[in-house]
């Protein structure tokens, strides 16, 4: 079958094996009923499986070997994220690896040495506490303050704050400079109140009431910009994986569901719905993987990340809508996979900037495009 097309780059044999391994592990350990159960779970993620993926090296994949990591290509992480999107893996994998990368890039040597091995071993669950009541991914207007080694403020929409061990907190220091404070989650000055989101994913309001700061990343601007663009690229992979799964699921349903005496996949209207889903999915995958390759090659990719997110977020939403339309009534039952994919897309499209946000970034880059006059 040709449902999954090449994104236009080559994978090594090792990478193909990695994909198979991730798909097998998640398929076995984390079928959709587990995902559903995690919605109301106290830990909020499958703890045993977390240890297992740490042991498999997925958590430390990107970190340098000197800190217990695998030092592998970003394309490897992209494959893992793609598969996690496909499986709706309900755990802060993306956030932990993302925060690890931020520490790796912008943390001091001792900060890297302190946290990266904990990330790789699965001991640390990191998350990003950036947005506040205004709900924007910007550093101007941050209210949270770092004063005397303690941090004060309220953070909204913090993913997995309930289960995280450490928060990377965007704050302003006494001089008004943006910093990222690394804060241990379990301490007196930190409380997390869960938000009830459409996707039943884990997001919290985190109150920092003089919480002790373990470490400070001084160049907060650069660190947060990296978190934004790298996280955006990671989200694109996850969303592409989700879209791919929904396409396959819908295709299979259309082949088996009989109405008016034939499989609905035989009706041209349904065929064209599915063709449109295939186009959106395929382009999303191609853009996400080509972006991942660009990152792996060490090239500049901030604009490309915004271009990809603006496309993929909107395309994946169309895939969900059309998938629903083809499934009809059955897809609307809350336990049906369609519902789960549909709702779990929302945190991905929303966190780290929605399509509107990234289009604004594209707009800011536009004056430099088409700089020359026509012939």
């Amino acid at each position: 079958m040709r449902v999954e097309l090449s994104p236009g780059l080559g994978f090594t044999g090792e990478q193909e094996m990695l994909r198979q391994s991730v798909r097998a592990v998640l398929g076995e350990q984390c079928p959709l009923p587990v995902v559903r159960a995690m919605e109301q779970d106290e830990d909020g993620f499958p703890v045993g499986l977390w240890r297992q993926i740490a042991a498999l090296g997925w958590l430390g994949m990107l970190a340098p070997e000197e800190y217990g990591g695998g030092g592998r290509s970003f394309l490897d992480a992209a494959i893992v994220l793609d598969e996690m999107g496909r499986a709706l893996f309900p755990a802060p994998y993306m956030w932990t690896v993302l925060c690890g990368e931020v520490i790796a890039s912008h943390g001091a040597r001792e900060q890297r040495a302190r946290y990266l091995p904990m990330v790789a071993s699965g001991e640390a669950l990191l998350t990003l506490a950036w947005t506040e009541a205004a709900g924007v991914w910007r550093t101007d207007g941050l209210v949270t303050r770092l004063q005397g080694g303690r941090v004060h403020g309220e953070k909204c929409f913090v993913p997995y704050a309930g289960s995280a061990t450490h928060l990377l907190v965007a704050a302003k220091d006494g001089g008004g400079r943006t910093v990222v404070c690394i804060v241990r989650r379990r301490q007196a000055g930190v409380t997390a109140a869960p938000l009830r989101t459409a996707g039943w994913d884990k997001q919290d309001v985190v109150t920092l009431d003089g919480a002790a700061v373990e470490e400070v990343i001084a160049d907060g601007e650069a660190a947060l910009e990296q978190a934004l663009v790298l996280g955006t690229a990671m989200q694109c992979m996850v969303m592409a994986g989700m879209a791919q799964r929904v396409l396959e699921m819908t295709r299979d349903y259309a082949k088996s569901r009989v109405q008016f005496g034939r499989p609905i996949g035989n009706f041209q209207a349904v065929q064209h719905h599915l063709a449109n889903m295939a186009v959106d999915t395929d382009i999303s995958r191609a853009m996400a993987y080509q972006l991942a390759q660009r990152i792996a090659e060490g090239k500049e990719y901030a604009l490309e990340a915004s271009l990809a997110k603006a496309f993929v977020a909107q395309a994946a939403a169309r895939v969900m809508d059309t998938g629903h339309q083809v499934h009809g009534g059955i897809g609307l039952i809350t336990d049906h996979a369609m519902q789960m994919y549909f709702l779990r897309l929302k945190p991905l499209t929303n966190l780290l900037g929605d399509a509107d946000f990234h289009l604004r970034r594209v707009e800011r880059a536009m004056p430099a495009m088409a700089a020359g006059a026509p012939r």
Partner: protein, 393 residues
């Protein structure tokens, strides 16, 4: 009703419109609305909803257009249109299956006994019906339904399964479509029955759908129905249900317009964290303006429907156009609402931070159902193309 875009109301109907509004202010209590919004009791068959419907019944509004002999008021279609729009706008319980489908059908095809037994109770809001059409293998292709009704002396014995029968767990009776002839072509073997919802052998399994609405899988395990509860002649059920559908084609549009109003209201408020109102953003403003245009479009074809019904027409193509456009429009409204709210747009009604109490989030979450149930968008397009434009099937 309605700050946004009023529909035209003839001078002689303004008093009635005001009467309806008055009634809603008095009887549409918070309990009624909350019960309905909970999604647990169908469209309004909880304790409070039923009381509300009985109040409507007292005024004769459940049989507003019915002749007096059946407990109706004999009012015009335009009265009915106004009632439907006002109730929908206020998020009141819907009239439901009894007044909208069972009543008109019984008046046309029911026996005298059936009319006597059911019509007055329906008109008073004392007898509530659930719809029993859809089956797991018969969704868009309703005519392929399989639930069997086997004759056995003076009774029929029902065996099979229904799904998405939303109010069966709270209704008094089910308006059931079943197969009485398994040999005939599929449209010609269907009959309609009135089934006591508390019959022995009838069991209900709850399922929840997008938007947290409860609906049911209903099992019929040798449920016995007396022959007198068969509508008209056996095997003519398809014809009956098609005509009934053509008779009462009210698709009020004020519910989605209310959502749009809520969103516009929200967009005019200061934002959390002190940002300027969303509506000052040119892109938000334009998106909302486009929806206002579409609201006017939907108003035009909704008003046209009422006008045609008032002329005594049976506007089925027009109904398909309205359903198709209205429902896709409603999806766009829901999507726009949650998208312009950004991160806040994902918060459920149970979340204290949710804008507008999470109503728009829920509306959006439930909106995929719109273009699926009651004839999917694809089915509507088929109808417009083949029946309306007479393209070859």
């Amino acid at each position: 009703m309605g700050y946004l875009l009023d529909y035209p109301v003839a001078p002689e109907l303004q008093a009635f419109q005001e009467e309806v509004r008055e009634f809603l202010r008095a009887h549409l209590t918070r309990e009624v609305v909350e019960e309905r919004q909970s999604g647990e009791w169908g469209n309004g068959l909880g304790r409070h909803g039923r009381r509300f419907l009985r109040e409507m019944g007292k005024r004769g509004w459940l049989g507003l257009t019915w002749p007096a002999e059946y407990g109706g008021l004999g009012k015009t279609v335009m009265h009915r249109f106004i009632l439907a729009e006002e109730m929908e706008y206020a998020d009141a319980p819907q009239l439901g299956t009894g007044p909208s489908i069972v009543g008109p059908c019984l008046m046309l095809y029911g026996s005298d006994g059936q009319k006597r037994e059911f019509l007055p109770g329906i008109a008073r809001g004392e007898i509530a019906f659930a719809l029993g059409y859809t089956e797991p293998e018969a969704g868009s292709d309703l005519a392929s339904l399989q639930l069997a009704a086997r004759e056995d002396g003076d009774e029929y014995v029902l065996r099979g399964q229904k799904i998405f029968n939303t109010e069966t767990h709270v209704a008094d009776y089910v308006w059931l479509a079943a197969r009485t002839d398994t040999q005939a072509p599929k449209h010609k073997g269907i009959s309609l029955f009135i089934v006591d919802a508390h019959s022995r052998g009838l069991s209900v399994q709850p399922i929840y759908t997008a938007g947290d609405h409860r609906t049911n899988i209903v099992f019929y395990d040798d449920v016995r129905v007396p022959r007198r509860n068969l509508l008209g002649e056996p095997n003519k059920g398809w014809y009956y249900l098609a005509t009934a559908l053509d008779l009462e084609r009210f698709f009020p549009v004020s519910g989605v317009i209310r959502q749009l109003e809520l969103i516009i209201w929200h967009a005019k408020q200061p934002r959390p964290g002190g940002g300027s109102p969303l509506i000052e953003d040119a892109l938000v403003r334009r998106r909302l303006a486009e929806l206002v245009v579409q609201a006017q479009a939907v108003r035009s074809i909704s008003y046209r429907m009422a006008w045609l019904l008032g002329q005594g027409s049976v506007p089925n193509i027009e109904a398909s156009i309205l359903k198709l456009y209205l429902r896709e429009f409603a999806q766009r409204v829901g999507r726009a609402g949650v998208e312009i709210m950004g991160l806040y747009g994902q918060l459920r009604p149970s979340s204290a931070l949710a804008p507008l109490g999470g109503e728009v989030e829920k509306y959006h979450r439930a909106s995929p159902v719109l273009t699926i149930s009651g004839g999917s968008s694809e089915i509507q397009r088929n109808i417009i193309a083949t029946r309306g434009l007479e393209l070859p099937r």
